[in-house]
Amino acid sequence: MASVFLGINDRTFTFMFVAGRSEFQGTGFRNPMDMALAPDDVIYVVNRSYESRSDGTRINVFRLGDEGEEYITEFGSYGEEKGQFIWPISIAVDSDVNVYVADEWLNRINVYDRDGEFLRDWGIHGAGDGELNRPSGLAIGQDGTMFVVDSLNHRVQRFTLNGEYLGQFGSFGSGPGQLNTPWGIGLDKDGNVFVADWRNDRIQQFTAQGEWQASFGQPGTGGDASIVQKMGGIKLSNVPVGQFNRPAGVCVDQDGDIYVADWLNNRVQVLTPDGRFISEFTGDAGLSKWGVDKIRSNPDMIRQRNGVRDFTPERVLWAPCAVKVDGKGRVIIADTTRHRFQVYQKNTEPVLI
């Protein structure tokens, strides 16, 4: 299904498939918060899970080929020891496919090699230069600069990949260039920085050096999470595009289009580089490959599904935390509360509707 917005069809997207299922180990995810795209369709996923099932707190690695998901391995575990994490939230890979994971409770960045072998960590709790208070978003520039969203310090800090402090920008507030409890971060191909200014309900654009350039979006439902909880992922019909409700994740594709995981609005919005809102995804999920495996071994659930008239709650995105676009123009959305990924294809040619 292609989606067109307001008659503007210069950019169209087609739903491709859904990947994953809810599992604490192996072939599934448990509150996937963020993912990092590596070569050969390999994806590293941060699973938050929860305290009574901390066995689900892990990084898993899977391949997202055109035939659907394929499990590779998993690593990392819940705890305070080296290589472990308590509240993992964000992940990035460098050009050598070393893996960086931000832990917003232990205030440290863990580094692993591509196979998940722990290499090192860094991070000191505090508010001084290079110190961290809830590191929530990670992005690595082409020159190897690492940007860390230092959420409770309401700023973005720049580091080398070894954790040496390079600089910072942003301060608490709601004015241009100011931030309130920011979360996700993304870079465009020219190295500009896009920050999900979470509690200000907007996206802000900076140069790599931190000079403010633009703000996108305005507050939507005022951060009301209870409505979202109640709706179970179904987007409120009266929320217009261009409004955000606690945006969590942001990324920019090769054309400069901006994708925002609009967390409490249960959708992903797409903007042109000049800030024109061109599309939104609210979810189109059916059954994933791993989901079919699961259902097949549970015939009573097949029967139960046959009685259901409305699959809307299953179809929609529910509080998505992250979105990434890969080299093939596939828009990959972490559908965090449904423990899966929804994937759309950005069409290179206009699609006839």
Binding site: S22, W87, W183, A248, K294, I295, N298, R309, W318, R338
Partner: protein, 474 residues
């Protein structure tokens, strides 16, 4: 500030909420008692908690695939909701309108019921009981989904009358007959659930109410003397105007907020402990057109509630032990790891939230206590009160230090009792505590090492207070 006012405010905040730190008690006294009651009764526009921060830290609270997640979220809300009476009322209704996830097995459905208690718990009783009769967790728990036009299941119809609204009897009389139960159950046929998306592969979807007119018994029914083609709404209408219903809610409220009443099954024979108080609440029920808030207002502003004879007259429920202690010491006031473990404590103490043992709910009063639960209650409270790093404990230490450069043992013990209550303990116990302090030498705080010693001994004294039998009351 008069001690009497502090004691009264602390009493109000323990009963209409889960207690408070001394700093909050004093701030509330300054506000004035009646203003505080109004504030407790009226939920304002500002959110009770910062839900966005909560869900960001604990994303699993959205779908609540496991009951533990729902329990943990509720504990977080009980600790932090600034509208404390809202949470207390959700617990109140949960102890009466019991449904358990051990049967429902869909934690999101079970907790959505609690969310509704939170939102509507101080509203109109008729609305509340209509909501309850359509609540998916309840319909499943009491088998109304098995009740059909051609084969009536009486479980919900019976419990609605016996345990949720009227009670078996009052003043020696029966409130309804078996025929009334049958009529009631017939009126709720067709009140059912829609087919639900199964749990695999993406997690749970909550149950949804669906009325099926084809499965409803449309024939005439005679219920409490009134005859007509009653549907569920009509039955609720008739129930709400019964004096028995006013009596039932009044006694439940008195039992929960004022002092222990005997268990419900005996209410047909046993008179209320304070009939005048019950009559006051019954009157508020009818005068207001079944408004719970009006009853609560009558209760909290009454002399029977403010009477010192009912301070500490109730054995604290496990939720009150856990939440009350956490609020006193100021722990888990923002999202942090470890919450799951404290949220399981009520269960270890015999109150598995979201899983009442039966539809009759928990047995309360002295029945909360056995040798196993008492150990857990004492260890939990002592562990936190002895932690001198926690803000509430630090504040108590600071207040004691402010009293004088060297604090005599008796004054020290009394100060600790005052700041954790004010709590009165048996003189025999108090003198043991005083003797213990005396044996430990002088309490000064001039030097760094003296301050450390002072803090450590305050933590120790607070632990001892947590072990007293009096601390088990709230």
């Amino acid at each position: 500030m008069a001690d009497r006012e502090i004691a009264l405010m602390a009493h109000l905040l323990r009963r209409a909420g889960f207690g408070a730190s001394r700093d909050e008690v004093e701030a509330r006294v300054a506000q004035g008692y009646d203003n505080v009651v109004e504030e407790l009764l009226n939920v304002g526009d500002a959110p009770g908690i910062d839900e966005d921060l909560m869900y960001r830290a604990y994303p699993s609270y959205f779908d609540k695939v496991a009951v533990e997640t729902g329990q943990t979220e509720w504990v977080y809300r009980m600790i932090n909701n600034r509208y404390q009476l809202q949470e207390k009322m959700s617990l109140f209704w949960h102890t009466i309108f019991c449904s358990g996830d051990n049967k429902v097995d869909n934690a999101r459905t079970t907790t959505i019921q609690i969310d509704k208690f939170r939102e509507q718990g101080m509203g109109n009783f008729q609305d509340l009981i209509l909501m309850l009769s359509k609540d998916p967790a309840m319909l499943y728990y009491l088998d109304n989904i098995e009740s059909h036009k051609t084969a009536v299941n009486e479980n919900y119809g019976r419990e609605l009358l016996e345990l949720f609204s009227m009670g078996v009897g009052k003043d020696g009389e029966l409130n309804y007959t078996e025929d009334d139960v049958k009529a009631c159950a017939r009126a709720f046929t067709g009140w059912n659930l829609a087919p639900t998306i199964p749990v695999f592969p993406y997690g749970r979807t909550p149950f949804e109410f669906r009325y099926d007119p084809a499965d409803h018994d449309h024939e005439d029914k005679t219920f409490l003397g009134e005859t007509g083609p009653w549907n569920g709404e009509d039955i609720i209408d008739i129930i709400c105007k019964q004096p028995a219903t006013a009596r039932f809610i009044a006694r439940k409220m008195y039992d929960f907020f004022v002092a222990d009443e005997p268990p419900v099954p005996s209410w047909r024979q046993s008179q209320p402990r304070d009939l005048a108080a019950i009559n006051t609440l019954e009157k508020a029920y009818f005068d207001s057109g079944y408004e719970i808030k009006a009853m609560l207002k009558a209760l909290f502003t009454s002399d029977f509630f403010k009477s010192e004879s009912v301070y500490y007259a109730k054995v604290k429920s496990p939720a009150e032990v856990v939440i009350g202690t956490l609020r006193m010491v100021g722990h888990h006031t923002s999202p942090q790891p470890g919450l799951f473990f404290v949220a399981m404590e009520p269960k270890y103490m015999g109150m598995d939230l979201l899983n009442p043992p039966t539809v009759e709910g928990w047995h309360t009063g002295a029945e909360w206590i056995n040798s196993g639960t008492l150990i857990d209650r004492i260890n939990f409270a002592a562990g936190l009160l002895g932690d001198t790093g926690l803000p509430g404990v630090k504040s108590i230490i600071g207040r004691l230090m402010d009293r004088s450069d060297s604090i005599p043992p008796e004054e020290f013990v009394d100060g600790c009792l005052d700041l954790t209550g004010p709590l009165t303990i048996a003189e025999e116990t108090r003198s043991e505590l005083v003797a213990h302090v005396q044996a430990g030498g002088e309490l000064r705080h001039g030097t760094e090492s003296e301050r450390e010693n002072f803090s450590q001994r305050t933590g120790e004294m607070l632990q001892f207070i947590a072990t007293t039998s009096e601390f088990q009351f709230g």
